[in-house]
Amino acid sequence: MAVSKPRNRSVFAPIIFRGALPTIAFFTALFVSTENAFSHGFAGKRFFPATLSTDDPFVADELSLPTVSSMVTSDEGGTRDTEVSVDIAKRLTPDFGVEAGETFLILRPRGERSVSGFGNVELGAKYEFFENDEHESILSLGLGVEVGGTGNEQVGADAFSTWTPALFFGKGLGDLPQSLSLLRPLAITSLIGVTIPTSASTRTFSISEETGTNEVEVERHPNVLQYGFALEYSFIYLQEQVEDIGLRAPFDHLIPLVEFSFETPLNRGQCGQTTGTINPGVIWSGKYFQVGAEAVIPVNSRTGSDVGFIAQLHFYLDDLFPHTIGRPLLGAK
């Protein structure tokens, strides 16, 4: 799975429209369910929302449709990179789930025509191997793959695949003493992973217009350390577990947060060239869905030059369809 959202996600929609019969079979399979619905984003009494820019540690039945982001990157002297992505996650068991996602990209280099197209399909799996309700903590392992050659190379989709193993962590501060009660609504989620391309470099052959000789351009693909965390303050938790300060709808369901997302190449001549963003924003969590929006602030000029944004509409499939696709296919907690 993509550790840093929302780039280059695999698309579920094309699978639907290319094969209706297999699609119906897939949805039919989703209706096979088990008893006892447990659900998204809970560790003990702590609800963790789905974060926008960094992947959260939970296995869930959920759909992000859409996630929209835009920022000016440092490519080609400054390129407006706008992305619209779809992601769906499905629990196979209460602790193990799979994900699929796809992104449509619109790239507008400075002074040039824009190009657009789908990125590579992205698939992933995640396993929750530790949860402590008393301390509101969770640990998960994940493995994602960007499937090479499934997207449009005009928007940078690679011909080779990229694998990303990652470790995810979440911790609510509800176990702080009463003397620090106003800090108890705080929670942190974090991740660390390594993106490993299956190709170390790409050679592009061309003929020089000036000399007529063959030219080779070598683009190297480093392994990349991906890491980040989200710091969130839940008004839901404050009102419900700490103190009713009189907030009412819709403010009582707000979760202000700040996300930090970084990438650091590890080899192949790009070691240490870190890029990243700091994303302050807010999530509103309702019965069946949440909406979120964040500013995307580049940490350095290598990342970009302007403040961008990311926004997301995210559906809780376990609440929308608790007796069908919103339940694990197998097993029960």
């Binding site: 209706a20 699609t23 003990g44 009463q178 009660s181 009102q239 019965k287 376990d318 929308l320």
Partner: protein
């Protein structure tokens, strides 16, 4: 035509699935209020939740600072409001009390939590 028919079938199935959707039950408000001081001795704890509940699968327990349970163990749903739970209390001395709740909404989603209130004279 086949793709249109298949798409309609999927939408119908999804619509059927969501017809009776509920969600996780969160605390909407409580009496005594979460984290508040009260000057009048409460005779019961009432918690309003955001979703209708399965009363048989719900519990509210109230403890004093020593960990002694001081409710009458008679948690029940309100006759007129499926989102409201009551539990009666034994006579209270001034002090801090902890309310521990665990509920299941109609769609079988379980949630839990706790809060404190203080009875001051």
């Amino acid at each position: 035509m086949n793709q249109f028919r298949d798409t309609c079938l999927i939408l119908m199935l999804c619509g059927t699935a969501v017809a009776h959707a509920h969600a996780h039950a969160f605390v909407d408000h409580a009496e005594p209020p979460v984290g508040h001081n009260v000057k009048q001795m409460p005779r019961e704890v009432r918690i309003w939740f955001t979703e209708p509940l399965e009363p048989a699968l719900c519990s509210i327990k109230v403890f004093d600072v020593t960990g002694k349970q001081i409710d009458k163990k008679d948690v029940h749903a309100d006759a007129k409001n499926k989102r409201l739970l009551h539990v009666s209390l034994l006579p209270l001395a001034p002090g801090v009390y902890k309310v521990v709740w665990q509920v299941v909404s109609l769609d079988t989603h379980a949630t839990k939590g706790d809060f404190t209130f203080q009875f001051v004279r």
